[in-house]
């Protein structure tokens, strides 16, 4: 494996939310990692581990309380720290040009392809919109580029003029990927992007992502609860538990020879030949006992 310059460097990411009854809960606590250009990182953990919050901070949908996110050495963390007055739909600092520049650095594909596309727009219109927003090519050139993108994700003529409701789940996810690729991002975040798909379709999308990574050199951040999927398509893996990193390293090492008991717990839950689900219960018990003792 060749190690190129990091495309994405994340340092000391921290995010907490106020609780309804007062006090705060920490969603993400001191998370740091980097992804090489053209590399791929898996972020795994249970729900509530903070992995989705990390994904949303990467693309600017959630503003970190502390920490930095840099793409190709350039920091993209929005200026003002500590959460603004409008936390959920924060105004990104720096106006429209900076907003668009950040958009060209990192894009995201969401889990549920049934709600991640504008229901009124055809596939073609959807991609045109993304290109127009970024002032990428006009007229003839735009049409050509849309054709290339559709081709790249394996959507044909019929799908190009269909609205999302006329597309299957897998086709919608292909379109969502094409939309993300429209701005030539350096990093593509996939937030459980194959979890809602049929098994046979899931494999098609995974293969597509691997092909795209090879062809375009985009770095992938693959947020998933599915260790088997992560084992297959990532170089490095980061294991998160309750907002903290518990283990990180090359995927083959982390998932084949886990050092942390929490990683072992996660691995025990993956069904395989001769699988005993009671093992997970046992490991969870041991983990709880160890936490109490500590």
């Amino acid at each position: 494996m060749t190690r190129a310059e990091p495309a994405l460097v994340v340092q000391g990411l921290y995010k907490s939310y106020p609780l309804p009854g007062g006090g705060r809960t920490t969603a993400v606590d001191d998370v740091s990692f980097s992804v090489a250009a053209g590399g791929s990182l898996g972020v795994v953990g249970e729900s509530g581990s903070g992995k989705t919050t990390v994904a949303r901070m990467l693309v600017g949908l959630v503003r970190p309380d502390a920490g930095t996110i840099a793409v190709n050495g350039r920091e993209r963390t929005p200026g003002e720290r500590g959460g603004g007055k409008l936390p959920r739909l924060s105004r990104p600092g720096g106006g429209k040009a900076a907003r668009l520049r950040r958009a060209r650095e990192i894009q995201i594909v969401f889990q549920d392809p049934y709600v991640s596309l504008d229901p009124r727009l055809t596939a073609r219109q959807c991609l045109h919109g993304a290109l127009r927003l970024h002032g990428r090519c006009e007229g003839e050139a735009a049409a050509t580029r849309v054709g290339e993108l559709l081709d790249q994700v394996g959507l044909g003529k019929r799908e190009a003029d269909a609205r999302p409701r006329g597309l299957s789940g897998g086709q919608r996810q292909r379109l969502a990927i094409a939309r993300a690729l429209a701005v030539d991002p350096q990093v593509l975040v996939l937030d459980e992007a194959v979890a809602a798909l049929d098994v046979s379709i899931q494999a098609q999308i995974l293969q597509l992502l691997a092909d795209i990574r090879r062809e375009t050199g985009v770095a992938l951040v693959f947020v998933s609860h599915d260790l088997a999927v992560v084992r297959h398509i990532t170089d490095d893996t980061l294991v998160m538990c309750r907002g903290r990193m518990v283990e990180a390293g090359p995927t083959a090492r982390v998932l084949d020879a886990p050092a942390d008991p929490y990683t072992r717990l996660l691995l025990s839950s993956v069904p395989r030949e001769g699988w005993d689900p009671a093992q997970t219960v046992r490991l969870r018990g041991e983990l709880a006992a160890a936490t109490r003792a500590a």
């Binding site: 098994v199 046979s200 098609q204 995974l206 599915d226 069904p271 395989r272 689900p277 219960v281």
Partner: protein
């Protein structure tokens, strides 16, 4: 046999669907058994489960039989059907949150069937409900009784739903993607719990049969005793779970395994091309032909029939698959 579905075919009026929802589905679940039913969306796995409850799609016509404890569900009177649904069979769905009334307490959710179906007095029902919650591994069950669904996590709620499903001591449990929405670890814990409960009942002499419906073939193969694989409304393969990983017979089963990523195995994923057929797709022959790597021209006109095969170590390994090429092999060896 606890559940015995024989040649169940379900058709919608023409215009609503181009092909039968279910085509000659045959399937059995014995007492104490966990039987997997695997398929992608549109394969008919949930429709099959609902048919066991006597819930057919509007306007559907059915042929064949669905027997539970020897009694045909499709021929039941409405009153008998209600009793059947509340006493004999229980169903656990994917999303526990939508299966529960959000404004009612956990306690009410559990005691209601105990009072209504078993006729227990209120106090006794409450005591039994606490017992049930403890049995499904919820800590502090008395406090849970007073809580409302939104105060519990998804995993805990699914335990509550399982407790309620087992409250009336049914013979058959239908688990329709019951653990699919849960974290993998929580899924393992809930499945370990179900295994334990099943074992308990077996020892108590009231064997519980489970039909475990899932899209996840490796999960079914790892968890169940026997597995049925469905495609386009048909059972395409049936065999003991332990044979599945090593020796899948139908190309679709093999394809599903080949495209499911697994730990500790570096092989390239081989996706099945195309997509699962919808209700508007029609077939002249084997429905898997367009996606099948081993299809031949004859497959396009071959009406699927179930071909039994014997296992390497006797009848315990035997199964069946609906593939023309298997039929050819079977014929030539006979």
């Amino acid at each position: 046999m606890l559940l015995d579905i024989e040649n169940l075919t379900l058709r919608l009026p023409s215009g609503a669907a181009a092909r039968p929802l279910l085509a000659e589905v045959s399937l059995t679940v014995g007492r104490g058994e966990v039987v997997g039913l695997v398929g992608e969306s549109g394969s008919g796995k949930s429709t099959t489960a609902r048919a066991v409850l006597g819930m057919l799609p509007e306007g559907a016509s059915a042929s064949g039989s669905v027997r539970v404890d020897g009694e045909d569900v499709l021929a039941m009177e409405p009153g008998r059907l209600r009793a059947h649904r509340s006493r004999t069979v229980s169903m656990v769905f994917q999303d526990p949150r939508s299966a529960m009334n959000p404004v009612r307490r956990i306690g009410d959710f559990l005691t209601e069937p105990l009072v209504r179906v078993l006729g227990l007095p209120k106090r006794k029902a409450a005591a039994k409900a606490v017992e049930l919650l403890a049995a499904v591994g919820l800590p502090d069950p008395e406090r849970r009784m007073r809580q409302r669904p939104h105060e519990l996590s998804g995993g805990m709620l699914q335990r509550v739903v399982i407790a309620a499903a087992l409250a009336t001591d049914p013979g058959l449990l239908l688990a329709d993607e019951a653990t699919s929405a849960l974290d993998a670890t929580t899924q393992a814990e809930v499945l370990a719990l179900l295994r334990g409960l099943q074992e308990e009942r077996r020892q108590a002499g009231s064997g519980l049969g489970t039909l475990f419906i899932t899209h996840d073939l490796p999960l079914a193969a790892a968890y169940c005793d026997r597995v049925y694989v469905m495609y386009a409304g048909r059972v395409v393969e049936h065999q003991p779970a332990r044979g599945l990983f090593a020796d899948p017979r139908h190309p679709y089963t093999r394809g599903l395994l080949d495209c499911s990523p697994a730990l500790g195995d570096e092989r390239e994923l081989r996706p099945i091309p195309g997509r699962p057929p919808s209700l508007s797709d029609t077939f002249t022959g084997c429905p898997f032909t367009p996606r099948c790597p081993r299809a031949e021209a004859e497959c396009e006109s071959w009406t699927p029939v179930t071909v039994p095969f014997g296992g390497a170590s006797g009848p315990a390994d035997s199964g069946s698959a609906a593939c023309r090429r298997l039929e050819l092999v079977a014929r030539s060896s006979a």
